[in-house]
Subunit: 363 residues, 2 copies
């Protein structure tokens, strides 16, 4: 099996193998009301503690969804959009929504000052998260560094995990990584200190070690009766050449948000497709959308309507449409998406003072 | 060499060996104005960066002294008094005085809640530190858990020390210990974030690993131009039976502050002395005050005046006084000391609201 850890870029060969190996629950779309496109299309494939959350939705009980923003760069790409789509989904199902700015993690693992993180969060990350669909009135942001409850929980949790466990979970137990992991666990549980309720964390499956660690901590930390948090995993957005995960470090492999339309289109035109060796063959036996990164863009990001997506699929399969035309169509949809994103991004940059950022009382 | 670490109770055989092995500076009493009894009597025996501090004293430049209170129990013993005597010394030489309540350390290494630590600090530790001679008007206390600067520095420092270094320094690199050590370094440097100035940390020499770690961090953490902190080491107060360090965990080995006078006297009467096998021999060749725990009490705690101490020494050496009488004298002095301590302790418990406890502004 390939290396599926928070510090690897490899793409899994087989998601069922991950489910078996990590001991995950298989995601069942029928259990969740109003599933979004990622859930309907099996991009969401697994989770932990899913029934607790689907019950909360169906029975209209309080629960929360939480995600973290790493301020290590002022870039996000389409892979992050899928996470935000999942936060939005739970938000629409009435989850209390928390987004943590992981400025202390950026400080200890990337040496980024708190001031710089704050600037990046206010000027970029918060507006882009809102532009990608989070409800400005219903999303609570907070800075780790200002959240004493999170800090205190990190210290309290430190005695609950041994060094050997860290090494077994992460393969890396440097002090800064340990501190970052403890702080993530504290973040994941923080909303329960405001109101005790179940919570769910949408992440890439590479983040499962953090989830497992947090669930272990809950079972060991009896001073506060935390409810074990759930998680829900999406398959990775592959890089446009299909080789690895989409990644910030490989600029041509990723479409950034926001990104210049021409630049995005150029990348799409160069993307790996499921096309055949020549036009004739493709007209005859059709393309292979399953291997096509452009189809992946349609499926994960550009086409919300399942019927429309099926049409694209069929036209490819039957050789009715060729890769050049299909890519142009993808560019058109990407242009519309980027235009609308840009407009929203600028709007929320101006409205940053309306964003709900938790203020912490002094002692 | 014996185990001289923060987690050992062993007494060193030879302090010169420690100086050589740890690479310490030998303490020279002539370099410090107005030395107290511990400095004059070679109980203070070594340090790091001492000249910077003696220069500050002589040239009336700003510097600070800092110490930490571990709230793991509501007990302190005579060993702690020596540290407080040293804080007082530097305070009288105009050091800005900081005493940190290490509530986060107590949380992560002893699982003591922040609320419990706060209660203990206000009801016990702060009043007893004041009763032992710290100036209520000139001593600034703070709680680690409320000090965001300390918390942020702990995170910032985490990337500056590798796991292997921890293991080499401490022989123990469990997450909670690492977190405690990082937080101690942050405490040691915290006063410099208020005003950049040299500082000195009076500790038992078993704490030298923490000092070394902090000095290493200063040399590696260039974002803030910290001044390398100094340290000054006292020899251990031995247990009353002379076998180990005086320790909270061995009740009969220690005199606690405060302690019931009868109980303290009983312990003194049972203490190891430098007496001979019978009265006749002792009258003839005298006792051995160098091996006597009662003389250690006089020297470290009960007799401030060097001439008086010399008299006790000579009377023992010449066989003029026998152990029984000498112990009774020690009991008398201990009673006076405990009476006065008790009175002061009760006074400062009532005046706890006058103590200067740092309030931290929100963000």
């Amino acid at each position: 099996m390939k290396d599926i850890s928070p510090w690897s870029d490899e793409l899994p060969d087989d998601y069922q193998e991950i489910i078996d190996k990590f001991g995950l629950e298989k995601f069942n779309v029928n259990e969740f009301p109003n599933p979004n496109h990622l859930m309907r299309r099996n991009i969401i494939f697994a989770g932990r503690g899913l029934k607790v959350i689907s019950d909360c939705i169906k029975q209209k009980k309080d629960f929360y969804v939480l995600s973290g923003i790493m301020t290590s760069s002022e870039k996000i790409h389409l892979g992050t959009k899928s996470i935000i789509d999942m936060i939005s989904y739970f938000q629409r199902q009435n989850a209390q929504t928390y987004v943590c700015i992981a400025d202390l993690e950026a400080l200890c693992t990337r040496n980024i000052s708190l001031e710089e993180s704050k600037k990046r969060a206010l000027n970029f990350h918060i507006p882009i998260y809102l532009a990608l669909g989070l409800d400005i009135k219903k999303t609570t942001f907070y800075f780790q560094s200002e959240n004493k409850t999170v800090l205190h929980l990190s210290y309290a949790f430190s005695s609950k995990v041994t060094l050997n466990e860290y090494r077994a979970i992460y393969g890396n137990s440097e002090p800064s990584r340990i501190l970052a992991a403890l702080t993530q666990s504290a973040d994941i549980l923080f909303p329960q200190t405001i109101k005790k309720m179940p919570g769910i964390i949408p992440v890439g499956v590479d983040q499962d070690p953090h989830i497992r660690l947090t669930r272990d901590i809950v079972s060991r930390y009896k001073d506060y009766n935390f409810i074990t948090p759930g998680s829900i995993y999406n398959k990775f957005m592959p890089s446009l050449d299909g080789s690895l995960k989409m990644s910030k470090s490989n600029i041509n492999s990723a479409i950034f948000l926001p990104e210049d339309k021409n630049s995005a289109c150029k990348k799409i035109m160069r993307a790996l497709t499921g096309g055949r060796k020549d036009v004739e063959e493709q007209r005859k036996i059709g393309g292979v959308p399953e291997n096509c990164m452009v189809f992946e863009l349609y499926k994960q990001h550009l086409i919300e309507d399942d019927k429309k997506l099926n049409k694209v699929y069929e036209e490819c399969k039957t050789g009715k449409i060729l890769c050049g035309e299909c890519k142009k169509n993808a560019c058109d949809l990407m242009n519309k998406f980027l235009d609308s994103l840009n407009e929203n991004f600028n709007k929320f940059k101006e409205r940053i003072d309306d964003a709900k950022i938790l203020k912490f009382k002094n002692n």
